[in-house]
Amino acid sequence: MARMNMVQALNSAMDVMLERDPRVVILGEDVGYFGGVFRVTEGLQRKYGEHRVLDTPIAEGGIVAAAIGMGVNGLKPVAEIQFADYIYPGFDQVVSELARVRYRSAGEFSAPVTIRTPCGGGIRGGQTHSQSPESVFTHVCGIKVVMPSNPYDAKGLLISAIEDEDPVVFFEPKRIYNGPFDGDPHKPAVPWSAHPRGEVPEGHYTVPIGRAEVVREGRQASVLTYGTMVHVAEAAVRLAGVDAEIIDVRTMSPLDVETLCTSVCKTGRCVVVHEATRFSGYGAELVATVQEECFWNLEAPIQRVTGWDTPYPHAFEWEYFPGPARIAAALKQVTEAA
């Protein structure tokens, strides 16, 4: 066991996989010699050579397409998109190709590509360095969508993603690369070393894709969330003084309906939290699924606490961010509802 922050844990996952599996290659903008703008691939090119860890041209569509071709040719490419906001130029290759190769060839071809990309705000990145576009990817059948909330899961899930025979879009909430974040930017930064999930095995292990985790047990309400917001939800639960169960969804698609709905059916009250804009956000799917499965147990309307339906503004990121106060208010609302 070692203490790792999320950057190190992700780096370790790729290190382990490059070592174990000669088919694994890393590619992306600045990921090679430089080690990535967030340093997630640091040292990997030096260790494995520039034919296993490739710097690429600045062309997200080209990166995804090249990764698909490599995957079809037996490699296991791990492509980095420098910011999730910049995945859109590669959208067609993800949606029409990566997600479809297996289906349209009835299983004869497939491309086991992992796309890693940092998402989320809270780093003064403004509207084009802060987005959380997971929702649109979850609408695309044929890919899996994952977002970890801590170093242990990050490494275990990334190894699972690389080993997966299907494509995985792997979102990394960059606000918590260095430490958990409870939603208050004025508090001193907390490192992962102070968090139990900052304990990370150095070698190979996996955290399964497709399984949510109950990170806090509770009886009065269920909070369904993922990524950075898991930690914010924890703060909100303390703030609200509500005995809420917090579920880290971890895999947005395919969704672990059972874990989520078992909780909500138990508590009868539910708050869904994410950083992305609200309208047609992933929270809508969570609400729709939960109300269908748990309708007869629900004692209050499910509340969504999300980013507002505006771009992520540079100056007002903390007014934009769905912080503890908003979540706590929603928790009170659902628990106090008759």
Partner: protein, 427 residues
Amino acid sequence: MAPRSRLHVPHPPARPGQEPDFSYLEISPAGAVNRPDITAAVRDIENLSLEMVRVLDDEHRSVGPWNPHLEAEELQVGLRHMLLTRLFDDRMQKIQRQGRISFYIKSTGEEAVAVAQGMALQPTDMLFPSYRQQGLHVVRGRNLVDLMCQCLSNTRDMCKGRQMPIMYHWGSGNIFTISGNLATQFPQAVGWAMAAAIKGEDRLAASWIGEGASAEADFHHAMTFAAVYQAPVILNLVNNQYAISTFQGFAGGEHRTFAQRGPGYGIPGIRVDGNDFLAVYAVTQWAAQRARASAGPTLIEHVTYRAGAHSTSDDPSRYRPKEEWQAWPLGDPITRLKQHLIVLGEWSEERHARLEKELEAYVTACWKEAESYGTLTGGPALDPLTMFEDVLKQMPPSLVHQREELRALQASAAKQPHSAPSVAKKG
């Protein structure tokens, strides 16, 4: 707002009712273009992208440095493949007109591209075609029944009913699955080739794109990645003069050849007479040698003409003169190879007629067999529940659930409609 406009709008040489006019086409005499060493620097061989490599001359003889000096048997095989491709196309189009398949795309007039190239490559080379290189399957010995079953979405359909007709693939034949989205295969082929180079394999990748589709982002990505990593890939741009209704000027072909895009990226570009079987073969061989020698990628522009409609959804008489195909200065690739063989004394009109008959009969037999595996409207049918497979390698619980929902629905419904009479336009 001023009514005056200085926006340039490309105009095709002729519209319906006008005389065909191919004076815009720059054609080099057969044999005129030099054949440089495969290690030549891009800047020293730029002429290849402006002139036109041609081997067959007006007397149907093979001339010049690009003559691949193929054996007569090989030429006969090429002729056979091209003819089979054309007859197959004709039959499938007829079948579509009868409403027995939903859609079809012919490659008429362009058969030399797929056939000569397929023959010039190794069977282990990986092919990423667009929808108009069915000749590649023919060259690689695909049973036509397989292709027909795909078009029929029947019980033997390699796509399990999931794709529109002509969206073939062939894993063991090293032919990639075709997408409906134009151009996407082009950079994928480059990625495949990069992987081959990473693994140190001797296989190369080849891909095909239409001149119209070359305006898509994927073309740029393919060229950039191929240039940066000097990937062992042959990038073929099939300039058949038309996208759907728009002529090649709308893809940027008015002021410069498409082959010239190559040197723009530091990649050799070759412009070839796409209806000259020998020339296409020769330039492909040259490009393949380059790729295998780690000398980098090649862009080949095949100058050809789309003799038929874009697809069965299209009616070209709305936008171009009916007589254009007859006026096309580079002729018909099948006729030209046939005449060459006749000049060589290795073929005759009689043998040709006999071959045509034989292949016609073969196509008929194949169709009979294919139909026996089911059609859109009758015979054995695929199980619709298979539609939930292969979305992911392992079916997720939600899909298991949905499959059961459909199963229950089908069980309860006395009769569930299985097919639609209407077939509308597809691009």
